[in-house]
Structures are given as structure tokens and as C-alpha cells.
Symmetry: C2
DNA sequence: AAGAAGTCGTACTTCCATGTACGAGCTTTG
DNA sequence: CAAAGCTCGTACATGGAAGTACGACTTCTT
């Protein structure tokens, strides 16, 4: 009751190669955002022609890969318990999030080069909403600061997450410390003791 | 006593067009990181050939533009008073920094596409050093948290700065509020009341 | 088992920006 | 003022990846 909405056609073997292609695309693009369709086809163990048979354009393929990654991420994050104290919930959410972000950073970059910004936002709707709701709830609970707009706070969290991913790739942050560093930083911004001056 | 280190040659004439080219490049690239050499030449009111006469490659040109922007920024930032209380100094530094960052964000993006990451870091040495010293001093003064590495803190500040620039461009943050929002956010991360749990 | 659907190699067309080549004609400079 | 230094138009060479065209062959589906 989940995948084949309205697609009566398409043979089993086609389904199979599509899956291989998408998964190969996701893998390759996640390490090299400039991977060529050619490379992807090869990695998928499929002819370039087959690939073009299913994805008319490179952009479509990239989008499919992103959607796939996003879906996987969403599944992971859906499993996180966000009830109770918002600050603690955030810690849990971040613990699961940062790796996902780190892993798909390159893929995202690839998408940003070929897809309109609006489309990308659209695809990120669920994760963003999840974060937004949590932050907002925290603000209501009085656990998170209310002197800055929710939108901005959510953005900052994302920037910190991506930042950590970058630092790791650049070797300036040990993957081991990432979780702690991210958590602490985010917590400060969200909590934001409006330091008395 | 500043520019012509060792370059006895080059006619006044040439000097002039180089200046126009660099400035045009900086302007164009700051709004469209994909500006073509052709466009830049036109904007500079100079033939494409002239441009190539001075910059053998697009990358060289982009670098020159970045260097120019960085030099200008450095001049502005050098004027900021960083003495006294580190937190207050940081506020002053941010007040001058965020606009510079916002303005040159696209240019930076252009550079990131054609220059090796190392080169870019190298060029940013001064601004980064300035920030690093301030953060570090703040940590010594006990004004900034010491439970996170200086490097990371500096990075976060940069990410927040760039993030704000992005939000502004996307229309999700009013330029008017930028300074406040950035300052508050940065202050929280740096101050980082390690909230008792 | 037969026809539809899918696969895939090879070869080719397009596109487009970067960078080169020439050479005539203007400026500077000293 | 004359040569060295620049400018700049036009035309061409490169290169790389995207996407198209064919056609023979293979695997599903019913």
C-alpha cells in the first residue's frame, strides 16, 4: 500500500534496473556531486541507454536519487521519539540527523546545481516540518528562546548540521566528536540565554 | 607604498583596463557566480581578447576578483576596534562582517567552483585569523565557552554568517533584522551557558 | 510460444563556454 | 616620433557531457 499508485505498466525487470540506477546514483552522487550519467550507468551495471530509457534527463535522475535519500532519511527520523521535553527530544533528533546530513551533503550539492531551489525546498518539506514543529513546541514550553523567529532558529540548526558535515569532510572535525559538538552548539542557540549585559 | 611591488613593466593603459575588468568581475560574479568571461568583458567595456590578455584563464580572473573583494573587506574590518571585552568586540566585528559576507557570497561560490579549496582557505587567512584571535581571547577572558574547540566556534560563526546571507537572498530574513539575529545567535553559541540538565 | 517491453552497444549530433590565432590599428612612453 | 605595448574583432579549435537514433538481441508476460 505504498509504492505503485498508478503505474499499471512497466515490467519487473525494468523495475529492477530503475532501482539499481537510483541506488547507484545516490551512492555516486553522495561522494561526487559531479558524477556523469555515464559513470552512474556503469556503476549500476546497466547500459547508458537503459538509463536514458528511464530518466530522460540527468536532472530527473538526480531528483530521483535525492527523493530516495530523503525517503530513507525520513524513515529513520520518524522512528525518533520526539515527545516529552523539547530539549531532550532535540538532542535525540540531532543524534540521528547529523549522520544523514553528512552522508547526503554531496548529493544535495548535486541537486542544487540542477534543480530549481523551490523544488529542493519542496522535497525537504517533511524534515523541515519535523524540526520546525519541535522548535516551535520548545518555544511554547519555554524551553527554547522566543526572541528569534522560529524559521531562523530552524535554519541555523540546519546550517550547523551542514557545517559539521563540511568540517568533517575537511578533516577539521573528528566524526567522533561531531554529535557532541553539534548538540552543544545547537542547544546554546536554541536555549539562548539572553545574556544580561 | 602598497601596490606595485615588483612590476616595472605594464603600461598605464593596461593597468586601467585590468582594474576595470577586476571590478566588473567582482560585481558580476557577486550576483551571478556563473557569469561568463564574455559577459564580464562586456561589463568592463573591454574586448574579450583584452581580458584574455591579462588573465589567461577564467579561474585566474575569479581569483583576482576574490582577492579584490577580500582586500576591500580586510580594510573595512581592520578599522573595527577589537579591544576590550571580547563579547562586545565580537558584536562590533559582526556588525561590519555580515554585510561583507552577504555581498560576496555569490563570488565565493564562484571561486569554490574553480579554485582548489586550499587556495580559498589561504586567501581567507586574514579574516579567519582575526576571528580566531578574538574568539580565543574571549575564551581566555572566560567570556566565551571553552568546552568546544576554538576552530569549531570560528567555523560556526562563519556558517551562521553565510546562513544569514542565504536567508536574506531567499527572502526569509529581512536585511534589517540580520544584524540582531546574527549577533544574538553567535553570542549564544560562543557564550554557551552549558545548561545544567 | 509469440509479441511486447526492455536492454544495450556504437555512433553521432548538439551545445556552449573556454581558450587560441591573426593581424590591423590605437596609445603610451621615453 | 617611433617602437613597444595594448586593444579588440572575427574566426576557429577544443573538449566534454548531454541527449538522440538505430537496430539487434534478450527477457517478461500472458
Amino acid at each position: 500500500m505504498a509504492e505503485p499508485s498508478i503505474r499499471p505498466k512497466r515490467r519487473a525487470d525494468a523495475e529492477r534496473s530503475i532501482a539499481r540506477i537510483v541506488s547507484a546514483a545516490r551512492a555516486l552522487l553522495s561522494s561526487d556531486p559531479n558524477a556523469k550519467t555515464d559513470d552512474i550507468a556503469k556503476a549500476a551495471g546497466v547500459g547508458r541507454m537503459t538509463l536514458y530509457g528511464h530518466f530522460g534527463t540527468r536532472a530527473e535522475l538526480v531528483e530521483a536519487a535525492l527523493v530516495d535519500a530523503l525517503k530513507a532519511g525520513d524513515e529513520t527520523l520518524s522512528a525518533v521519539d520526539l515527545t516529552g521535553n523539547a530539549r531532550e527530544a532535540m538532542t535525540r533528533l540531532l543524534a540521528s540527523s547529523w549522520q544523514i546530513v553528512a552522508e547526503s551533503a554531496a548529493l544535495l550539492a548535486a541537486a542544487e546545481e540542477v534543480l530549481p531551489a523551490g523544488r529542493i525546498r519542496e522535497l525537504h518539506e517533511r524534515p523541515v516540518r519535523r524540526m520546525t514543529e519541535l522548535v516551535s513546541r520548545g518555544q511554547d514550553q519555554g524551553v527554547f528562546r522566543a526572541d528569534l523567529p522560529t524559521t531562523w532558529l530552524v535554519s541555523v540548526v540546519q546550517y550547523i548540521l551542514h557545517g559539521a558535515a563540511t568540517e568533517i569532510r575537511a578533516g577539521r572535525l573528528a566524526p567522533h566528536d561531531a554529535a557532541e559538538v553539534v548538540t552543544k552548539s545547537v542547544e546554546s542557540v536554541l536555549t539562548g540565554q539572553a545574556v544580561k549585559r
